[in-house]
């Protein structure tokens, strides 16, 4: 029973990953990638990591939808209606990817994996939470601040309007001068 789950989800993940590069349409490519991620999330659930698998499904759906919005906004021919070759540097990228795959596969097959010591925790979610709140707290804090700084930095770099454009030279103008009105305090 359990290996049926593996043999359904794993080829699905690989096949839809391949389809990302075969589809002409940006929308289809994005959702093929989403299906690949959902299959990977399903595999995590099957491995007993229920929380991680469900969170992967949750996060990936949201991220792929947002990615679809940007891909379609920024790329020409988003529906793939005009048959265009979207691939660049065919031979070079093929060589690099085949070499990388061979290296990784060799590494996976040849490595002497250790045997399991102890037993899996009774409640994997609780064990994950306890680890994050205890020994891995420093990792969490560092990651949190790094992500936050990245997001703020990206927004600051992307927009060409700053505080002085919005609030005037004396920073006193209320409401701020925006091209689209917001909803708070107006």
């Amino acid at each position: 029973m359990t290996s049926v789950v593996f043999w359904v989800l794993a080829p699905l993940a690989v096949a839809s990953g391949v389809m990302v590069f075969r589809f002409n349409s940006m929308a289809r490519a994005t959702f093929a990638l989403l299906i690949s991620f959902l299959a990977a999330g399903g595999l995590l659930i099957w491995l007993g990591l229920a929380y991680l698998g469900t969170v992967v499904i949750l996060m990936m759906v949201m991220e792929m939808v947002i990615m679809a919005v940007f891909m379609i906004a920024y790329m020409m021919n988003p529906a793939g209606l005009m048959p265009m070759s979207m691939v660049h540097n065919r031979r070079g990228s093929l060589a690099i990817s085949v070499a990388a795959f061979a290296l990784l596969a060799a590494g996976i097959v040849v490595t002497p994996w250790p045997h399991r010591m102890g037993a899996p925790p009774r409640d994997a979610t609780f064990a994950l939470g306890a680890a994050l709140m205890g020994p891995q707290m420093l990792t969490m804090i560092t990651l949190g601040f790094t992500l936050f700084a990245t997001m703020v930095g990206a927004v600051v770099l992307a927009t060409h309007r700053g505080r002085y454009d919005r609030f005037g030279d004396d920073l006193k103008r209320r409401p701020p001068a925006d091209p689209a009105r917001g909803g708070v305090g107006q």
């Binding site: 021919n77 209606l81 005009m82 265009m84 091209p179 909803g183």
Partner: protein, 410 residues
């Protein structure tokens, strides 16, 4: 076909009706809406949702093509009803329901049914419309610009927008057949995303010599007939309620919109002034007081008074002097003021009680000046806001031919 016939007969108990309002057919449209409310039949929002296409009023030659495109987009089982006068509406709806329930679905032949036009007003198909060929394409390896795309469409051009993005430009015409929209109005939009980059307003389907339903008392008074202030006040209140109902439906407040429609019909039908006045004042106060509605519409479509004067705008649009919020609140204020005059038997004085959209004795019809200011107000607004702006001005295109003495059309 037994099961399908049963399903069709069951579904015909409550058909969805798409009311295509034609210029000159305002009275028919009002009767149709009242009938639909009484029967509990929903009004369809798009041809895909409709079973019955009710053409309210006579269709002139240039609007007939749009009606045909809309009809082609209605899926089977379907019935078309052409109604020319208000009294015929009930019979036409009964006949349409009977024909639907007759259980013999008229399916479109497979070849013709393959491609059906989009929902946006029947004047163009889907997002294809009138795209122009793509300009330069340096990094894709096609030398031949005559590449056939599916459906014969060419690739969309791109343009700058207010956020610095370059997005595809879609040419989307709104109207003439569109629910919650002025009859005969066509606004051609250039959309990038859902932001209107450019708009052009035009009128189609106007009939010579018809004259507007809403300004009838004033035209009769100008022709010398004795018209009481009460009749004119009721007609003007009904016009404001009609505009308000359309605006509230677009703003998503369906219950208030339905109340406005009922009061409009009551005012025209002669309901006694005390109870009618109370109900109208209550509705006007409720709408004017609504903070959520004001929050949604504040700052949109601002028409400064000097610009309004320059364009020749008169009436509530000029008096409100501001954005969409100010305009619908102006309607509410004027509605409350009009309730006092519902039973007034004195002779109508056009200088004291103006027609709904502005004075008729200016150089051009009041709605013509509204059409003139529309493009500038729409540019740069988002789609939902654009629809609200049009609804807050609510031009009545039936006024246009009646004012044109020289005889040519807009």
């Amino acid at each position: 076909m037994g099961v399908t016939g049963l399903l069709v007969r069951a579904g015909a108990m409550r058909p969805h009706v798409l009311v295509a309002a034609m210029p000159g057919g305002a009275a028919v449209r009002l009767a149709a809406e009242a009938q639909l409310r009484r029967r509990g039949w929903p009004a369809a929002l798009s041809p895909a949702d409709a079973d019955v296409l009710l053409v309210a009023g006579a269709a002139a030659a240039d609007i007939a093509a749009a009606v045909e495109t809309t009809w082609a987009a209605v899926p089977a089982p379907r019935v078309r009803a052409l109604v020319a006068s208000p009294g015929e509406v009930a019979a036409a709806l009964d006949a349409a329901q009977a024909e639907l329930a007759a259980g013999a679905p008229r399916w479109l032949p497979a070849g013709d049914a393959a491609v059906l036009p989009g929902a946006n007003g029947g004047a163009a198909s889907g997002a294809g419309g009138s795209h122009e060929a793509h300009g330069t394409g340096s990094h894709h390896d096609m030398g031949d610009m005559d590449m056939e795309m599916p459906g014969g469409l060419s690739m969309a051009e791109r343009g700058e927008d207010r956020d610095g993005l370059k997005l595809d430009r879609l040419h989307v015409p709104l109207g003439p057949v569109l629910p919650d929209w002025s009859a005969g109005l066509v606004v051609r939009l250039v959309l990038q995303g859902d932001v209107v980059q450019h708009a052009e307003a035009a009128a189609v389907g106007l009939m010579e010599g018809a004259g507007s339903f809403w300004t009838e008392p004033w035209r009769r008074a100008a022709a010398g007939e004795p018209v009481t202030t009460g009749v004119a006040a009721r007609r003007r209140a009904a016009a404001h309620l009609d505009s308000l109902a359309r605006f509230l439906a677009l703003a998503g407040w369906d219950d208030a919109s339905t109340t406005a429609c009922e009061l409009r019909d009551d005012a025209l039908a002669g309901r006694p002034a005390p109870s009618l006045g109370l109900a109208v004042r209550r509705l006007a106060a409720r709408v004017a007081r609504s903070r959520v509605l004001a929050w949604s519409t504040r700052g949109a479509g601002t028409l400064p008074p000097d610009e309004a004067a320059a364009a020749g705008v008169t009436g509530p649009a000029r008096r409100a002097g501001g954005d969409v919020t100010a305009r619908y609140r102006c309607w509410c204020r004027e509605l409350s003021g009009l309730t006092a005059a519902f039973d007034d038997g004195s002779r109508l004085d056009p200088a004291v009680l103006e027609p709904p959209r502005g004075r008729l004795d200016g150089g051009q019809a009041p709605s013509a000046s509204l059409l003139a200011v529309l493009p500038r107000l729409l540019a740069g607004s988002e789609f939902a806001v654009a629809r609200l702006i049009v609804a807050s001005l609510d031009p009545d295109l039936d006024e246009l031919p009646a004012r044109v003495e020289t005889g040519h059309d807009h």
